[in-house]
Symmetry: C2
Subunit: 149 residues, 2 copies
DNA sequence: TATTGTTATACTCTATAACTATA
DNA sequence: TATAGTTATAGAGTATAACAATA
C-alpha cells in the first residue's frame, strides 16, 4: 500500500505540472483549455444539453454556462432551445468550431508529442502503453455520473 | 507519427481532467494545489530564493510572490533576507509547514490511490510502471531551466 | 546598469447561493 | 413543486508591464 501511495503522489505531481505547462501561452491557440475540452465533447457527442456538457466535463452548471457562452459568442457552437422542453438548450458544434478545434488540438498535441519524442525508447513505450489506463482512470472519478464520450 | 499524436491527444485530455478533479473541493485540505506544490519544493530543496522557487515550479516571479505570501502568512514557511545579497530572500519550510504538507499530500494521494485501486490489474500495472516516465516528461518541458528536486 | 523581487492589473477557471423560466 | 439554466459573487492561479531596492 505504501508503494501505491508513493506512485499516486508522483502521478499527482506530474499531471499537475504537465497541465500547468499545457495551459501556458506557448501555443498559437484561439481556444482556452476549458473551451477546447467542452467543444470537443459537444463535437463528439452530437447535440447536447447544457447539463450534459457539465456532467461530461465534470464541472458544475454555472461553469458550463460560462464556457458555453464564450463558444457561442465566437460562433464555435450553435445554441437553440430544445423544441421538446423550453427549459433546455441544444448545443451543436459549427463547421467553424470544428475546424478551429482541430487546429488547436493539433497545436497542443504536437507540442506534447514533441516532448514525448525526447523521452528514451523505454520511457516512451511505457508512457504510450499506459495512456489507455490513464484515460480509464479519469472515467471512474467518483463525481462524474455521465459516461464520457 | 499519427499514433504519437493520437497518444499525445489522449494524454493531454486525461491529465487535464485528472488535475481538474484533484483540485476540487473533495479534500479536507488546508493547502491549495499551488501552495502544496511550492511548499514541497521548498521543503525538499532546503532554503531557496524566490526566483529558484519560480524556476522549479515553472511559474513566473509574480506568481511565486503570491504563493509564497500565502505560505508565509499561515506560518508554513519562513522568509528571511539573504545576508549575502539584500535583494534576495531565503525561504525555508517550518515544522508546522512540514507536518501540514504531509497531511495534505496524504489526503490527495489517498484519494488518487483509491481511484487507481479500482483499475484492472493490467491497467494498474501499466499506469504504475509509466509513472517514472511521466515524471521525466515533466522534467524536460522546455521552459523549465532549473533541475527539479 | 543589471538583477531580484513586488505591485498593479487583468484574464481563465471554477465554485456556491440565489434567481428566472418552464414543466 | 421540481428542473434547467443563468446571474451574482468570490476565490485560486496565472500572466505581462511597471516599479523599487540592491548590487
Amino acid at each position: 500500500m505504501i508503494n501505491q501511495l508513493e506512485a499516486a503522489g508522483q502521478l499527482r505531481l506530474a499531471v499537475y505540472r504537465l497541465t500547468r505547462q499545457l495551459r501556458g501561452p506557448q501555443f498559437s491557440a484561439e481556444l482556452t483549455m476549458s473551451q477546447l475540452s467542452a467543444l470537443r465533447t459537444i463535437a463528439h457527442n452530437g447535440p447536447l444539453h447544457a447539463g450534459e456538457v457539465a456532467d461530461r466535463e465534470g464541472i458544475k452548471p454555472p461553469s458550463a454556462t460560462r464556457v458555453i457562452a464564450g463558444l457561442v459568442a465566437e460562433g464555435f457552437i450553435s445554441r437553440v432551445p430544445d423544441p421538446r422542453d423550453g427549459r433546455q438548450i441544444l448545443l451543436t458544434a459549427t463547421p467553424k468550431g470544428m475546424s478551429q478545434m482541430e487546429r488547436d488540438m493539433r497545436a497542443r498535441d504536437e507540442w506534447l508529442a514533441q516532448l514525448i519524442a525526447e523521452l528514451s525508447d523505454a520511457d516512451r513505450e511505457a508512457l504510450t502503453s499506459a495512456v489507455p489506463a490513464l484515460v480509464r482512470l479519469t472515467e471512474i472519478a467518483p463525481q462524474r455520473a455521465a459516461e464520457p464520450d
